[in-house]
């Protein structure tokens, strides 16, 4: 059983389209994150959710909107996709306590390619 699962794993789309990436965790965690790994391999945090509340948004354009329908899910919706949005997007989860020790559980990533 996959602990943190993301769908889709691969996504190819045209500029200007709107797309979503879904994330689900079955670990009972209360904190979830979205990270972006760009072509230069930098892995940067985008959003952090604790108990369905947004904790942090690291200067992400408002075309990106996270949605957490419940503690086990954190979806990422992207409007008006741009070429620069091409990247691998990783979902991660943890308990608040574990996260403070740096232990996050990552999904396998969703590779988004914008043409």
């Amino acid at each position: 059983d996959t602990a943190v699962s993301q769908t889709p794993k691969y996504l190819v789309t045209q500029m200007g389209n709107d797309k979503s990436i879904k994330c689900e965790q079955n670990l009972g965690h209360d904190t979830m994150y979205w990270y972006k790994q760009d072509s230069k391999k930098f892995l940067k945090i985008m959003f952090s959710y604790n108990n369905k509340e947004l904790i942090i948004n690291e200067t992400v354009p408002n075309r990106f909107s996270p949605k957490s329908p419940d503690k086990a899910h954190l979806n990422l919706h992207i409007n008006s996709l741009e070429l620069g949005d091409s990247a691998v997007y990783f979902c991660a989860s943890s308990t608040w306590k574990q996260a403070n020790t740096g232990e996050l559980f990552f999904g396998e990533g969703s590779r988004l390619t914008v043409l």
């Binding site: 952090s48 740096g102 990552f106």
Partner: protein, 114 residues
């Protein structure tokens, strides 16, 4: 904002040899975390260091945080093919802990040659 510089960027090592990966921070580290990423997969947590001078080991991987808490090294003894992957160091975005998110270095690509 804190930046983490890793060296080397890539490393090719013959199986059985030892190797070291370094992570240098632009600011004092309030926690340093090592992760491993296999190609095409997510990251796996290896270990956490918090105190200056702290050293931790997991199987054949040892990591240390220097006294001044601005640099960490990861050492692999008698490398095996299973050690191949990308090693990333991470640090809390804010000094209070990692729960608000982590910032990562670019990673070190490790290839083990048989």
């Amino acid at each position: 904002s804190q930046e983490l510089e890793q060296s080397p960027q890539s490393l090719i090592v013959q199986e059985g040899k030892n190797l070291t990966i370094n992570c240098t921070s632009s600011k004092t580290l309030y926690g340093l975390y090592w992760y491993k990423q296999k190609y095409g997969e997510g990251l796996i947590f290896l270990m956490m260091l918090q105190k200056g001078g702290e050293e931790k080991s997991h199987e054949k991987i040892t990591a240390k945080l220097d006294e001044k808490k601005q640099q960490s090294s990861l050492h692999i003894t008698a490398s095996q093919p299973s050690h191949a992957g990308i090693y990333l160091c991470g640090a809390p975005v804010v000094s209070g802990g990692g729960a608000d998110g982590l910032t990562f270095g670019k990673g070190t690509h490790l290839i083990i040659q048989p």
